[in-house]
Subunit: 308 residues, 2 copies
């Protein structure tokens, strides 16, 4: 089993009510990779500049993420994002976006990256997502994330990209925006009609909901008393989800039980991700801690089957 | 087992994208009563005017709700509320509020109403809630709802009222507002520290979360493709919840499994309530339909216990 993820590799500056970091490892492909690495072999694809050094490579390597397809651009600068969260950690203000080498990114995948059986197209321009999708023709399971920017500026491309994948991970507000459907069930059904067999609506502090032809499943977020930094929660969720699903072999995306466990593993990793800044918590996370919280999720969502 | 509910009895005018009603039976005590009536004997307390006629009494009586404590004020007018919902059914605009007899309401409970073992203080002025609480000294289980208006205008009274009940049902935004805590887990804990042993955070389309000393439980809302009229969803939820709990006898509020089933029955009745205008759907609801949807809730929230 191998999983290739294509997306941003970044330095983030983040300020929250609990503290700040001026420059830390981030980016959608990074958060996704670290999360997925607990379940399967991961290869990360994305551009970096000269400023991306051994400590950053090591953070990925320590979790056995294959960095051979990280494309280093001489004289370039790594994508930089700065943002601030207020007390309502569901909303954030972007203070700076410096695309750097990410602005000219044209994905070149090695033979090994193209041979992955699972592919994740993190939130990048939808035409680039389609380009990567074509390079990985043999992938049996392909997921995609997107954002409001592409709905507003490249809707047709995004709809085409969605038509070429198996799973869509998007915020519930983005699913509504894309379909202009205020009702989430209808919005998910309309996106499913574009092609994918599974739609995952990420709902921030309310958890996530899964729509497939087999039905509906929803999971609350883990009830944390302190969310230090929500950056990367969505990508960690997708990484835990798709990493687990990749580890279950062929047919997992058609297996309702596997999908529900994938939802739970995604929620588990996301819940750890937000406990500290950036990738700090996930970098020292253990499989035992993951299984422990998986069991807690079960305990906090199950009720008896026989009404008294 | 008997349950007394004190709150508003009203006529509502509601407009949603799916249609409108110019005058229909509503009010927190009405929605609560109808929901609770599927599980236990209910007695409703609240004022009405001359305009409250036999059709309205019959709607309650048909569900075996005892209306002996409905206080008819000669020459008075029944509380009237008019509101409109847009496509985002989570937000509504109030177009008119005519308190009528509700403005002078001073609860007088019959001996039978006072003797109830379960009491629900629907969303009324907190000093009135406390007054009713004192009249029902023998109640072993007391729940309370409130709203932003009382947090803003009668905070001290509300905190005192909360200190005298066992369960609090409030919207998650109101729990945050009351405690000035953006984190819901902390907000719930702070409200619990005021006295109640159970806090239920109503989360609209995202479902509901339960906090107690035994832990945390959350349930998504039932995934409806069409929500016709959300009015009364919160009161229907509380009615299903507390009605079921009342039917389980002494100690049910300390029984985590009973509380989880109560959450589920509350969610089931609320989901039916919003399928049609006002009380229309709940009035012809059957216990079989309730049990069927209860089973669906189980199916859409459970995942396997043993990770593969």
């Amino acid at each position: 089993m191998s999983l290739t993820v294509v997306g941003s590799i970044a330095f983030d500056a983040v300020k929250t009510p609990f503290g700040e970091r001026e420059r830390m490892l981030g980016g959608s492909a990074v958060h996704f990779s670290l999360a997925a690495s607990f379940f399967t072999d991961v290869r990360v694809v994305g551009p970096v500049g000269d400023d991306f050094g051994e400590p950053e490579y090591d953070a990925l390597r320590q979790r056995n993420v294959n960095v051979d397809d990280v494309e280093r651009v001489d004289g370039g600068k790594t994508f930089f994002w700065a943002g601030e969260y207020g007390w309502d950690l569901n909303t954030r203000e972007t203070l700076a976006t410096e695309l750097g080498v990410f602005g000219e990114f044209s994905p070149k995948l090695s033979e090994e990256a193209r041979a992955a059986d699972t592919l994740f197209l993190a939130n990048i321009q939808p035409d680039l997502q389609r380009q990567v999708r074509r390079l990985c023709e043999g992938a049996r399971l392909v997921g995609l994330d997107s954002m409001n920017l592409w709905i507003e500026t490249a809707r047709d491309s995004l709809v085409a990209a969605i038509g070429e994948v198996d799973l869509v991970f998007m915020n519930d507000s983005e699913l509504r925006q894309l379909t202009e459907q205020p009702n989430l069930v209808r919005a998910a059904r309309e996106v499913m009609a574009m092609g994918p067999r599974v739609i995952v609506a990420k709902q921030g502090e309310y958890g996530a909901a899964l729509f497939s032809s087999e039905g509906f499943f929803a999971l609350p977020a883990y009830p944390l008393e302190t969310v230090v930094d929500p950056t990367g929660a969505g990508d960690s969720f997708a990484g835990g989800f798709l990493g687990y699903l990749a580890s279950q072999g062929e047919g997992a995306a058609e297996d309702d039980s596997a999908l529900r466990r994938a939802m739970t593993y995604g929620s588990v990793i996301a819940s750890f991700n937000v406990e500290e800044f950036g990738t700090e918590r996930v970098q020292r996370l253990t499989r035992d801690e993951i299984e422990e919280r998986f069991a807690e999720f079960k305990a906090m969502t199950h009720f008896e089957s026989v009404p008294a």
